[in-house]
Amino acid sequence: MNENIPLAPDAVKKFFMNLPFSKFLGLTLDRLGNGEATMTMPYQKKLIGDPKSGVIHGGVVTTLLDSCCGAAVMTAGDPKFPTATIDLRIDYMRPAEPLRLIRAEAKCYRVTTSVVFVRATAQDGTKETPVATATGAFTSPF
């Protein structure tokens, strides 16, 4: 982990909360700092992927995990630039329970001047197994 003191998580928080797509999904950034972030997303009918079960689309979980990882990256050091996703792998363990809020937690586990490596999980709080996990590499903003 980068030893620098993270620059104003509040500024990062404001940036993420003001993104049009964050608003569209109703994302809330609950906890942020030191290369870690927690983000929640409420259940919405417009996000359903399979109308038979009412389960939200996997792509929505991808968005939540991507956003959460991006927010974590921005606080892993003293950001001089915005970050961008290089790649993101999502493993879907199980469908998210309909109507449940989904909480994502991301943590940067390796920060370099060129790349930041992040892992994240998405939970709906119904089972121990997460809904999905993510592994990503982001361009380094430092």
Binding site: N18, L47, G59, V60
Partner: protein
């Protein structure tokens, strides 16, 4: 049940089944994704919408929107390919086709096991297109790759590769 001669209707039936497939996914409607096809190959369209912005400075499309678009395209192409290899094959072989078709003709939607998205360039505030290729489809698992572009199909701005659970008997 209203039956019609397939010579008049094969294309419109194809369109109808494909459109009902897209209409059956609420999130697809939310993003405004539409599809067309050249033979069995589907092209998905994602119109630009200012709500999809993930970086207002450029402005660039949100990575999550791009990921969703790629995943949806893969799922639609996979459903369609699986359909054409099962019920669809019989359907297009018959002399007459049943017009009372809806999304129920297509089996359960494939479920994503994993997907890896490569972001090659930022997505500009333009309409995006995507095509998927079903690299392997077995009885339970399928492997699909997908690319998306905005102006030049040979210069994708994002690509993805994923594994899906299919119910194909």
């Amino acid at each position: 049940m209203k039956k019609i001669k397939k010579v008049d209707s094969l294309d419109s039936l194809r369109k109808k089944i494909l459109n009902s497939l897209v209409k059956g996914i609420p999130f697809c409607q939310t993003l405004g994704i539409q599809v067309d096809y050249l033979g069995n190959e589907i092209t998905a369209h994602l119109p630009f919408n200012k709500e999809f912005v993930g970086n207002p400075a450029i402005p660039a499309l949100h990575g999550g929107v791009i990921g969703s678009f790629l995943e949806i395209t893969a799922i639609i192409q996979l459903s369609w390919t699986a359909f054409l290899e099962t019920e669809g094959r019989e359907l297009f072989d018959k002399d007459e086709v049943d017009l009372k078709m809806d999304e129920s003709i297509v089996r359960e939607l494939p479920k994503t096991i994993d997907i890896t998205i490569d972001y090659l360039h930022s997505g500009l505030p333009l309409e995006s297109f995507a095509r998927a290729s079903v690299d392997r489809i077995g009885r339970r698992y399928a492997s699909v790759s997908v690319r998306s572009w905005q102006t030049d199909p040979s210069k994708p701005f994002a690509k993805a590769s994923g594994h899906f659970l299919v119910s194909k008997s």
